[in-house]
Amino acid sequence: MNHPMSVCLTNVVVKRRQKVVLGPVNLDLAASGVTIVLGPNGAGKTTLLKVLHGVERVSEGVVQWSVPDVQARQSQAYVFQSPIMLRRSVRQNLAYPLELLGQPKSEIARQVVDWAHSIGLQNALDLPAPRLSGGERQKLALGRALIRKPKVLFLDEPCANLDGRSTREIETLLRDATQTGTRIIMTTHDLGQVRRLAGDVLFLLNGRVHEQGGASAFFTDPKTPEAKAFLEGDIVE
C-alpha cells in the first residue's frame, strides 16, 4: 500500500536547449526516512530535487506522487543552497509561509517564537534577515521551511560553506524533523554527513541514477565502479 507521500518517477527526462541534463530516471521513493542524493557537480542532483518538488518541468516522463499534485506541493518545502532571505526581519521571514496559509495572527506569532527558539535565533527576531551570517541564514531558511510542518523537505546542499558547528546544528534540526515524521530528500558533497544522516542513498552521474540503496551498503559495498571511485575521492565522469 502506498503511503500518502511516496513518489514514483517513470522515464523522467529533463532537457535544456535540447541537451539532456537528467534522465531517463525511473525511481520509487518511499514516504519516510532520509534520502541523500550524491554525485559530482553537474550530475543532476539539484535538477532531480526540483523535478520532485515540481518547480522544474520534465521534458518527458511522469512524476507521480501518491496524493494529488496540489496536495503534494502544499505538503512540501525546499531549502536552497544559497538561502533566499526576504528583505524583512527574521520574525517576518518565519511568519511568511504561515501568512500565505492564512493562519490567525496570534497563532503565527506563537509559532514564530517557538521556531526562533528551535533554530537558536530567538535573540535576532527583529534583525533584518539579510544581515545574518551564513549559518544563521541557513538555519532561518530551514526554520521557515519547517514551520509549515511539511511532509517532505527538500534540501540542496544545506551545509555548503558552513563551519562544523553550524553543520551540526542544522543536522540536529533535520534529525528532529525526521522524528516528527518529515521525509527528507537532500543533496550534499559531505560524505561524513551522509554517514550521519542518510537512511538511503541515490548516486547520480551524468543525469542518471547509477546506484540506489541503503547508506551503509553504499559505503561498504558499492555496486558500480563509478560509485566506488566517487567514494575513494577519484574523479568520475
Binding site: H53, F80, I84, L86, L100, P128, P130, R131
Partner: protein
C-alpha cells in the same frame, strides 16, 4: 543676478506673509499632483510588478512601449486629453475640461508610464532574487505581486517620487486642459508661466523657489515617514 535676488526676496516675502493667492495655488498644485500620483501608483505599481513576473508572447514589445511612453510629450498628452474632454469629444458630456480633474487626468497619463517603467526595472531584480522561493512556496500570482511590492517598497517610493517630481513640475498639459484660470485651475507652474509672460520675473522666480521648496519638502516628508534611511540597508 538682480532678478534672482529679487526672486529670492519675493519668495521669502510671499511665504512669511502667507500670501493668500500663493497658498491657494500651492494647495491646488499639491492637490492635483498628489491625486494624480495616487491614481498613477495604484495603476503603475501592480502593472510594473506584474510585467516583471509574467511571461507572455509580446512582453518585450510591451516593455519597449512602456519605456517609450516615459518620453510622452506633455503638450501632446494635453492636446489629446483636451480633445477627449472638449464638448464635441467623447467625454465632453462630463464637463471636466478646465477643471482640476482634467489636470489630474492629464498628469496621470504622463506619469503612469514613468512609474510603471521604474517599477518594472526594480521588480525585475527583486523577482530574480525571490523567484525560486516564491515558486517553491506555491504562491499565487497575487501573493507574488503583493510580496514584491511590499519588500520593494523603498525602491518603489523612488519611482513614486520620480512621478511626483514630473507631475509637480509639469506645465504644458495642464495649461491646455486646465486653462490657467485664476482661483480655479491655476497652479504654481502655470502661474510662473503667466508671470514670466507678463514680465514680472521677480514674482515668477519667487514662485519658482516656492515650487522647488515644495518638491523638496514633499520628498523629505515621504522619506521621513517611510523611514528610508533608518532601515535602508536591506
Amino acid at each position: 543676478m538682480n532678478e534672482i535676488w529679487s526672486g529670492i526676496q519675493a519668495a521669502f516675502w510671499l511665504i512669511i506673509t502667507l500670501d493668500a493667492d500663493l497658498v491657494e495655488i500651492t494647495l491646488r498644485s499639491l492637490q492635483v499632483s498628489l491625486s494624480a500620483l495616487v491614481v498613477a501608483c495604484v495603476i503603475a505599481l501592480p502593472f510594473g510588478t506584474w510585467l516583471a513576473i509574467r511571461r507572455f508572447r509580446y512582453r518585450r514589445a510591451a516593455i519597449a512601449t512602456l519605456n517609450a511612453l516615459m518620453g510622452l510629450p506633455p503638450v501632446v498628452v494635453g492636446l489629446i486629453v483636451y480633445l477627449l474632454l472638449s464638448r464635441s469629444g467623447p467625454f465632453g458630456v462630463l464637463g471636466l475640461l478646465f477643471t482640476p480633474s482634467a489636470m489630474i487626468i492629464a498628469q496621470i497619463i504622463i506619469i503612469t508610464p514613468l512609474i510603471a517603467s521604474i517599477t518594472h526595472q526594480a521588480m525585475r531584480e527583486l523577482w530574480a532574487e525571490y523567484h525560486d522561493l516564491l515558486i517553491s512556496l506555491n504562491t499565487t500570482k497575487r501573493q507574488r505581486v503583493m510580496t514584491l511590492i511590499w519588500d520593494g517598497r523603498r525602491t518603489l517610493m523612488t519611482a513614486a517620487l520620480a512621478g511626483f517630481g514630473r507631475a509637480i513640475g509639469e506645465v504644458g498639459a495642464i495649461m491646455i486642459v486646465g486653462g490657467n484660470i485664476d482661483h480655479a485651475t491655476r497652479v504654481l507652474t502655470t502661474a510662473i508661466a503667466l508671470e514670466t509672460g507678463k514680465g514680472d520675473f521677480a514674482l515668477a522666480l519667487g514662485l519658482g523657489f516656492v515650487l522647488i521648496a515644495l518638491a523638496l519638502v514633499v520628498n523629505l516628508a515621504i522619506h521621513a515617514l517611510s523611514r528610508t534611511e533608518r532601515e535602508g540597508t536591506w
